[in-house]
Amino acid sequence: MSTIESTKELMRKPAKRSRKIFIQKFLNTGILNVFLTILSMLLILPFIWMLLTSVKPLSEVGTDSWIPSTWQWHNYLDVFDAIPYARYYCNSLLIATWITFLQVTTSALAAFSFSRLEWPGRDKVFMLYLSTMMLPGLVMMIPNYQIMIQLGLVDSIAGLILPGAFSAFGTFLLRQFMLSIPSSLDEAAEIDGASKWRLFWDIILPLSRPGVIALAIFTFVGNYHSFFWPLVMLKSQHKYTLPIGLLYFDSSAGQETNLLMAAVVMSVIPLVFVYVILQKQLVAGIQLGAVKG
């Protein structure tokens, strides 16, 4: 509203004006809410269909009605009979957890070294790290596979964990975070006679907790979804991770849409939980990652 308009408004009867503003604001907000609802409904329709299909009998898949005539909850149990789903689940969680733990540890140590310690050649090494982030992962895939052959780790869980345990991105993220911690803390610790390890373990690491948590979420979720490397590496069925297992399920019994959807639902649910519980940290982490520019 411009000044002239608002002056005009002021000259009118106050009660009438405020009622008009009230109604306008009410309508605007109401329309906004309805609009947001419609948009979110459009976005979650696929999920609704997925949930409903996962409890349908097979004969009703593909009919016009989305509601099953009988709610076949045992579809979910049938998935475990059709494929070793629990195994895939455990593999995925195991791998994602290990990678997260190792990557956060190594990244935090390296980030401490890059941000809090002075040593000759530090910045050159850091530039090297930065430049590796530009490289597409695809460039490294074939050589890495050859390395795995040499190490005898093809088709093993360790072969999936090992390359993921070291990350230039994680180091970079945590370094940026640690740089924002005031350096007077270091000096105080030094005066108190603390070793570098004490400084890292008792001061810097606790203070960079938000960064560490964000990195942990990213790494965990990313590796839970991870597809390319396991696809290339895994040969034997009992070592499959969830994405590979789902792909295998789709190619071997893809016609059983209801079971497939039940499997999909179960693989998505942990993510929903992670998001709902950790969304504050996640949002903060996304912004942290973007600040670097």
Binding site: M1, I44, L117, G121, T132, M134, M140, I147, E190, V268
Partner: protein, 500 residues
């Protein structure tokens, strides 16, 4: 800081902390990269070097790279990738739109309005549910209405967190699981999309058959007319910026040139040039020049002929604007053509597309899915954060100056968001060039006949299926060079764009 210990000691401590990481990075990143460089220039091919046969390995120089251009597949799959990337601007625009919606206070500032809102929402939802039950609606309608009502009421109750969560869900769960879900959604015979579309198309078909052809033709013409109207709008905008000194002459010319392309297409279509390829540029450039001369004339007529801002000033925003208009104009042209052809199509029966199994629809299908996954993605969250950082004073100033909604957006919000947009643009370009592998592998296997094979899927196929390792490495390097060049270009060009 007091020097403690010698330089060697410092080095030792520094390396002790970095040790585990650097060992890993060297083994799994730096060594592989060096290895990949050697690989790209050699002739390692698993069909030639295996347990049965062992041809000598040697360096072949640039052979792999020349082959890459000679084989033609590279260019084809690169074009596929670029085609799929055309969805990115829509995704970013969608994210921005969602962020702006979420940035508004959906409770009307609390207090009395909030109370009224909640009460009327409850009433509204209740009435709709009762009506539906009364009308004997199917269980599905009831369910959907119920879910919608729940979303609306809980959205009011818990604020925008609910909406943000729902918007973010598709992105957060994107992976093989949701690709399989979409594969089922797109199923041409059993999928819910076609289950809904086919009856709708049936109605359209019946309607077109019944409607007298003049009406259809009028609709066709109306859509055609929209294009020049949009062009006029662009002209008005550009002229105004140009005159106000917000845009240099070159910038004005380029933006007009871009939006002249659809006009040129229309002109050629209606003036009867059937073989119009080749002449299109001529018409577009000629048209743009004429328009530019006209603008100069008008400027001169208005009495300020040579107040021209030279250079590329304001170029970025104007370019974004004209590209957006270009896409919209082409959509209008496409729609008009579809409407124009409807009677013929209705004669042979309208049918929903076969999505992923149809050569022409496979890429658009993936783009639609990408849009679903990307609209509420990290980009939305970044925009949301950036929006809350826009100083409130700027909006107040704009309000006092009497700026409308569009003007406020264009002159306040958009420039303030420029750094975020720049970051998102760079990241999505990089991601887009390397992307498409998972969808191709899980949904289409790169098909039908290579329609959805992107560069990353091609590299995977060559490296791990065909076994042409060296060729695959060369492909990967070509992709890297592409990504690197575009990023460099973005930095050089975009930084200026951010600062102006």
């Amino acid at each position: 800081m007091a020097v403690k210990g010698s330089k060697y000691r410092q080095l030792f401590t520094g390396l002790a902390f970095i040790g585990p990481n650097i060992a890993g990075v060297f083994t799994f990143v730096i060594f592989p990269v060096l290895f990949a460089i050697l690989l790209a220039f050699s002739n390692w091919d698993l069909t030639k070097h295996n347990i049965f046969k062992d041809e000598p390995l040697y360096f072949v120089g640039l052979d792999n790279f020349t082959r890459l251009f000679n084989e033609g597949d590279f260019v084809r799959f690169l074009l596929n990738t670029l085609f799929l990337m055309m969805g990115i601007p829509f995704c970013v625009a969608g994210s921005l739109f969602c962020a702006m919606m979420l940035n508004k206070d959906n409770r009307g500032g609390g207090g009395k309005i909030y109370l009224y809102l909640t009460a009327s929402a409850l009433l509204f939802v209740g009435c709709i549910m009762l009506t539906l039950v009364g009308m004997g609606a199917s269980a599905m309608t009831l369910l959907l209405a119920g879910v919608g009502g729940t979303v609306l009421i809980s959205g009011l109750g818990f604020g925008q967190t609910i909406f943000r969560t729902l918007f973010y869900m598709p992105h957060f769960t994107t992976g093989v699981a949701t690709y399989l879900l979409w594969k089922k959604l797109y199923d041409p015979y059993d999928g819910p999309i076609n289950n809904v579309l086919n009856p709708v198309l049936g109605y359209v078909e019946a309607g077109v058959k019944v409607a007298p052809s003049p009406i259809v033709y009028m609709m066709h013409l109306a859509l055609v007319v929209v294009v020049p109207v949009m062009f006029a709008f662009v002209l008005k905008r550009v002229y105004r910026w140009w005159q106000d000194g917000d845009l240099g002459s070159q910038g004005a010319f380029v933006t007009i040139l871009i939006t002249c392309i659809p006009i040129a297409v229309l002109v050629m279509k209606f003036s009867g040039f059937v073989h119009w390829t080749g002449k299109l540029e001529a018409v577009a450039i000629g048209g743009a020049s004429v328009v530019m001369l006209l603008l100069f004339a008008i400027k001169w007529w208005n009495g300020k002929p040579f107040q021209i801002v030279e250079g590329m000033y304001g170029f970025g925003s104007a370019l974004a604007f004209s590209l957006l208009m270009l896409v919209l104009m082409f959509i209008a042209i496409g729609l008009s053509m579809v409407v124009g052809n409807l009677p013929e199509m209705a004669q042979s029966g309208l049918e929903a597309p076969h999505w992923l199994t149809d050569y022409h629809w496979a890429k658009p299908s993936l783009m639609i899915m990408g849009f679903w996954a990307a609209i509420g993605s990290n980009n939305m969250l970044l925009y949301l954060a950036a929006l809350t950082n826009v100083p409130k004073g700027l909006y107040e100033a704009a309000e006092i100056d009497g700026a409308g909604r569009f003007q406020t957006f264009w002159n306040v919000t958009w420039p303030q968001l420029a750094p975020t947009t720049f970051f998102i643009a760079v990241m999505s370009t990089i991601g887009g060039l390397q992307g498409g592998f998972e969808a191709a592998r899980t949904m289409t296997e790169g098909g039908p006949s290579g329609a959805t094979t992107t560069l990353s899927y091609y590299i995977y196929m060559e490296g791990f299926q065909t076994g042409r390792l060296s060729f695959s490495a060369a492909l990967a390097w070509a992709l890297f060079i592409l990504v690197f060049t575009i990023t460099l270009f973005n930095w050089k060009f975009g930084n200026r764009y951010v600062n102006d």
